[in-house]
């Protein structure tokens, strides 16, 4: 079982209480890399104990936003405050934990030695360090592998240790950059349990992913980011309601030439992907007229279904792109 993260973490001597109670406030953030605008006026706020999902395809600007918050990217304009302190200040560094997408560990050190190293980098020492290391090992269910070299661990274990290393100094705000990349379903579920534990302890989390089901399961609110802009945000239900209202999604599959299908679907205001057409309808009765029109156009219908809109459809609707493009 995953052990509680907060239940016995000691107050860190390194962390003083910040000025503001708002864990994270980002205002009008802009970052350009040459001609590419990675962040284009991003504004968001994170409440205490809240989990905000940052949803977007590769290259949307998620990692740049996260790296800006941890002070690794200097924005061209805009402001970031972590508990009221500037992002690259020592105060901000003390209060936030970063779990990068990469396995940022020392492969020739053991699990315990890795955690000790990162703890010391955050100013921990002595009994506090020892206790936090023990608790993080327990939280990641790696206590029995504490003396194992990292290079000998399985992929899932490395991921869990990677997360534990970001939490060794008991941050109140945690930034997770696609922490489940490349792990098997069992390990993924294990990681979800660990994150849910953190949430239950009131830690504020920003969680970036391009897996819709992860965002739906873990996050209180979701911000959809594309081309460096937050194009929608709210709870899962709010996003669906704002995007689709009471409308439903009709998914129809046709046989025949893809180009012809795509052309016809576009004319009718839908999206076509690999011969599958998606239409938004106000009422299920509109389906019959849609099918009649396809027959008149000479398209051969293979199957049709009515779907309740979800985040993936919201994303497709808003951006015209698949989430995992």
């Amino acid at each position: 079982m995953v052990k509680s993260y907060e239940e016995s973490l000691l107050p860190s001597a390194a962390i003083s209480i910040p000025v503001s109670s708002v864990p994270l406030r980002v205002e009008a953030l802009v970052k350009r890399f040459g001609q590419l605008t990675a962040l284009d006026g991003v504004t968001l706020e994170l409440g205490t104990g809240e989990c905000l999902g940052l949803l977007g395809p590769n290259g949307a600007g998620k990692s740049t936003l996260i790296r800006s918050v941890v002070g690794r990217v200097i924005p061209d304009s805009g402001t970031i405050s972590v508990f009221g302190a500037p992002a690259d200040s020592m105060l901000a560094r003390s209060t936030l934990g970063w779990i990068p997408q990469e396995l940022a560990l020392y492969p020739r050190l053991t699990c315990r030695e890795n955690l000790q190293s990162f703890g010391r980098y955050h100013g921990l020492s002595g009994e506090t360090l020892d206790r936090n290391v023990a608790l993080c090992l327990a939280w990641a269910t790696l206590a029995d592998r504490a003396g194992e070299l990292v290079k000998n661990l399985s992929g899932g274990m490395k991921r869990r240790l990677n997360m534990a290393a970001g939490l060794i100094h008991q941050p109140k705000l945690v930034l997770m950059d696609e922490p489940t990349v490349g792990v098997d379903p069992q390990s993924r579920n294990h990681i979800f349990e660990m994150i849910e534990n953190l949430r239950s302890e009131g830690v504020s989390i920003i969680y970036t992913t391009h897996y819709m089901e992860e965002a739906e399961r873990l996050c209180d609110r979701i911000a959809i980011i594309d081309h460096g802009k937050i194009i929608a945000h709210g709870t899962n239900a709010e996003l669906v309601r704002k995007t689709f209202g009471s409308r439903s999604q009709v998914v129809a599959r046709f046989a025949g030439a893809q180009d012809r299908i795509a052309h016809w679907v576009a004319q009718r205001g839908g999206h076509a992907v690999d011969g599958t057409a998606q239409f938004t309808v106000e009422h299920p009765t509109e389906i019959s007229s849609l099918l009649e029109a396809s027959a008149r156009a000479g398209l051969e219908l293979v199957d049709v279904s009515l779907r309740k809109p979800n985040l993936e459809l919201v994303f497709l609707q808003l951006t015209g792109r698949e989430l995992r493009d």
Partner: protein, 425 residues
């Protein structure tokens, strides 16, 4: 099929600058260095410095000194270099010995008072003559041999009349003397020889024969069991220190690639602290290596380690700092481990060859000896030689300490500036 494989390999090599440099640039550089040192086509033949003390001031001793001064392959020093423009007193036997110990020259010749009364002799009958004293630094295996040979040669070329006179004395002694006519002709010949010497003409001749008696004494390393071990311990040690610290500094590149560096820099660790930490570790690593090298030298090759601990520590720390900073700089310059490997191999081998790690710098042409001073190797080896070879006090290490510490600071500052690329995006 084979051509496709060759084509792929060629394209890969063309894009790997490090491999290209190791394949084509390093061999040419190495060849050139060795050719300059050992080959015949060089502009500046290394000259041997010799200190000459004329205690006799007789015509014979003065002619001998002049004969040495006419030798193009020697740099003859009769007095120390001027200090702030002020001419120094001529060397004495004592100051010449001190100068050899300090490394001002590898050999000193002391022409004793009374030398001119009976400067040369042939064969075993010259037991009454006073020998020239040769003081040598035996770490230089070449210079004393050169001077010993040249002494005999100069005697023959600068004092031919004295040799002839001495020959006629032997003739008188063992063959009953010359007739008046023969003696007149001999005098005529001797006059011609004196005139020829006065015109500055020289002749070549064998340096063998022991015409001038010489006693030789090693004033540096005279009590060493294994004199060259300290040199090689330092020379080889420094070269491998450079390799080790460059490799260790490469951990920065590994950490940057794995994302660990980003994570570390998002903690309370700043880039300056991180680099200082790496510098400290690499310096300790290098110092440990030096300790191991010298302990091994002591245990296996009778290197006198324990009586030179203070000097060793000073030079060891300074050398370790300099090589560690050098490694940090290379790691900061390079983008990948492969680049670092290629660049460090190239630079370290070149530095080691001209800096004296592969063969002593005194064997090199003057220009290359001066170029060697641009390397960490040369300053480190000079410092260790002062301690272990010349038994100099630690206060004499200040030039080496100053240079190595300055190099360490300058290289570290440059590395810190270059490391900005990892600091923020």
């Amino acid at each position: 099929m084979i051509s496709a494989i060759v084509r792929t390999a060629v394209v890969s090599l063309r894009r790997d600058r490090g491999a290209l440099a190791l394949s084509f640039l390093l061999p040419v550089i190495f060849f050139s260095i060795f050719a300059v040192i050992f080959g015949g086509r060089r502009n500046s033949t290394p000259k041997v410095a010799v200190i000459i003390v004329d205690e006799d001031h007789s015509p014979a001793s003065q002619r001998l000194v002049q004969g040495f001064q006419h030798e193009g392959s020697l740099v003859v020093k009769t007095r120390p270099e001027p200090v702030r423009g002020a001419e120094q007193h001529e060397y004495t036997a004592v100051s010449a010995e001190a100068a050899v110990k300090a490394g001002a020259a590898p050999v000193a010749l002391i022409i004793p008072r009374g030398f001119g009364e009976n400067p040369i002799s042939f064969g075993p009958g010259g037991s009454d003559r006073l020998p020239v004293r040769m003081l040598e630094d035996s770490s230089d295996m070449v210079a004393p041999q050169v001077i010993a040979g040249l002494l005999q040669k100069v005697a023959m070329t600068s004092m031919p009349d004295l040799m002839a006179e001495q020959g006629s004395k032997y003739f008188d002694q063992y063959a009953g003397g010359l007739t008046r006519e023969q003696r007149d002709r001999l005098e005529q010949g001797l006059r011609a020889l004196r005139e020829r010497r006065g015109s500055g003409a020289s002749s070549s001749g064998s340096s063998d024969g022991g015409i001038i008696a010489v006693t030789t004494r090693a004033v540096v390393g005279e009590n060493k069991d294994n004199p060259m071990v300290s040199f090689y311990a330092a020379a080889i040690g420094v070269m491998f220190l450079l390799f080790t610290t460059s490799g260790a500094a490469g951990s920065l590149l590994d950490e940057a690639e794995s994302g660990t560096l980003d994570r570390v820099l998002s903690s309370r660790v700043t880039m300056t602290r991180l680099l200082l930490g790496k510098l400290t570790f690499n310096s300790l690593l290098a110092f440990s290596q030096l300790v191991l090298m010298f302990l091994w030298g002591w245990a296996v090759f009778q290197l006198d380690f324990w009586s030179h601990i203070p000097g060793f520590v000073i030079m060891g720390v300074c050398t370790a700092m300099a090589v560690a900073a050098f490694g940090m700089l290379l790691a900061s310059v390079c983008r990948t481990r492969a680049q670092l490997g290629a660049l460090s191999t190239l630079l370290i081998l070149v530095m080691s060859s001209i800096g004296g790690s592969m063969f002593p710098r005194f064997l090199m042409p003057e220009a290359m000896q001066k170029a060697g001073l641009l390397t960490i190797n040369a300053w480190a080896i000079d410092g260790f030689t002062k301690i272990f070879w010349r038994d100099e006090p630690v206060s004499h290490l200040w030039p080496q300490v100053l240079v190595l510490v300055s190099v360490a600071i300058i290289l570290f500052v440059i590395a810190r500036r270059l490391a900005r690329r990892w600091e923020y995006t």
